[in-house]
Amino acid sequence: MSREAGEIEQTYHIPTVAAAGSNVVSFGIGPNVAYNTGMPIRYVGVPFPFSGQPRSVLKGYIEGKDTVSGRPMMQAIVDALTAPLTTDERLSGPAPDAPAAEPRILVASSEDDLQRLFREKGWTDYNPVILPTQERVAAMLRGTHHKPDEIVKSAAGTFGSRRPFTVEKVATLAVMAGAKPEYLPIILALASRVPYQDSTTSIAQMIVVNGPIRTKIGMNSGLGALGPDNEANSVIGRAMTLIHKVIQGYQEGITGFASLSNPLRYDNLCIAENEESLPDGWLPLHVQMGYKPTDSVVTIFTGWNFINSTGWVEQHYAPQFLMRDYMSSLSGMSATLLMDPSVVDLLHGVQGFQTKAMLGDWLSQNVEKTAESYWGNSIVSSMLAPLGRQGLEPYASWLKLPDKAMIKPFANARNIRTVVVGGKTASVWFATDFMPDRGTLIDAWS
């Protein structure tokens, strides 16, 4: 919204005011000006929540106060379109020089002071962090051949604000999370993928590691892999949380307003795929994505839902049937099944699914939900309905269906993925709606 409002103002010369929640406003008048545009946009602040609210509530917001200025909302809107530009708003021409770099070393007299500072700054998940002393960071940097001052990425911050950060910054966060130097290439690969998606909804990320590095650094892809029982899984996942908070600048209530947030954000469901358990024909995730089996790859998934199979597979009800049932409650945009190797044995050996893709095809044809339920999901309606209105199928046809008509929301079977993980003590699985990025080569950061 900030960029589009800016474009309307600066390219088309149309006076504009953007109405937004506090998260967008705080970004728009803060980091977006500081790191992106240098030019403030005129905002009015609309109270939360506004999604799904009745008209009476929204009318109350319009008759109430602008959360930015505290003045009546409509007066603030009219003023935003009519009040003369300030000196800052009239600036044009070359941008001023960047200010000096922020201090590299923190000034404090004791560890207690620093731990307090880290908490106050929000540089922590509020579990204790390892203080990143110069010696510890130097030792961490031995985990990569990249130079400490190399820029990992520039476009980093929440909602796309730009803050260049270096390999040393990522190593600093790796120390704080408790990482070993051999974890650093994965953590750098994760950092190279910021920004991670945020939302006022309960969005979360999942990390899946494939390839030789899994065993080299001792990641757990077997018994208890999703639990807090493995150092590498736990610490790498935590490092991503710190990258999100410190590098991306996500501060709840300041740059982010996730109403419930998501407990997966403590360690981002960091797992490795149990490639050794895969039967013939079932390819590891990274090979399905086009990487070589010998590549080490980290894939970041983003999603909301995480449905537990609860118990083991019953003999009279094949696993794909219960997966179908549970998946009908997902949005339909994407699905990733996390399944124990014992479930794979049943699907492959008993049910005849010779590949992951065959299972995806079957689910694509058999998961159904009503059009009403499909479009009743706000993420689906906001992301996919515009495509349907532009004529893109199948959304264009689905928009025309009566409410109770049944659709196959996973019409594209490629949107259904499987990651095999677990210790073979129970035939259990999770159905999630997590969707992957394109994967990142870890070896490039070693």
């Binding site: 474009e7 088309y12 006076p15 967008v24 240098g38 005129r42 020089d97 260049p164």
Partner: protein, 111 residues
């Protein structure tokens, strides 16, 4: 009793540079461009109410449009929905229309 530090501690947020110019450290120059001149008044003007597609934005703009109709009836409001994805800067055609037929725009609502 506080534990004394024996080693310097690095600042995790001490970015190499912070550039209000907005070039993100990529070395390219960046220029500011002024906001659009403001209107003397919106009375009698055409104001575009642009729905971003975010949940609740359409209903919010409904109420905004009703307010103008009741309290500032000389203002002509035109409702449009952003033509592209709500999370992408992919709308251009609409801005051309607003430029040709309107005098001001209100974007809403995202959060």
């Amino acid at each position: 009793m506080a534990t004394l530090l024996r080693s310097a501690v690095l600042n995790p947020e001490g970015y190499r540079t912070v550039r209000p110019a907005g070039d993100g450290g990529n070395g390219k120059s960046h220029s500011f461009s002024s906001l659009a001149p403001r209107l003397d008044s919106i009375e009698g003007k055409t104001v575009y109410l642009i729905d971003t597609g975010f949940g609740g934005s359409g209903k919010f703009l409904d109420q905004l449009q009703a307010w103008f109709a009741e309290r500032m009836p000389s203002v002509k409001t035109v409702r449009r929905r952003k033509t592209g994805n709500i999370f992408r800067d992919d709308t251009k055609d609409l801005w051309v229309e607003v430029k040709e037929r309107g005098q001001a725009a209100i974007l809403g609502v995202v959060g």
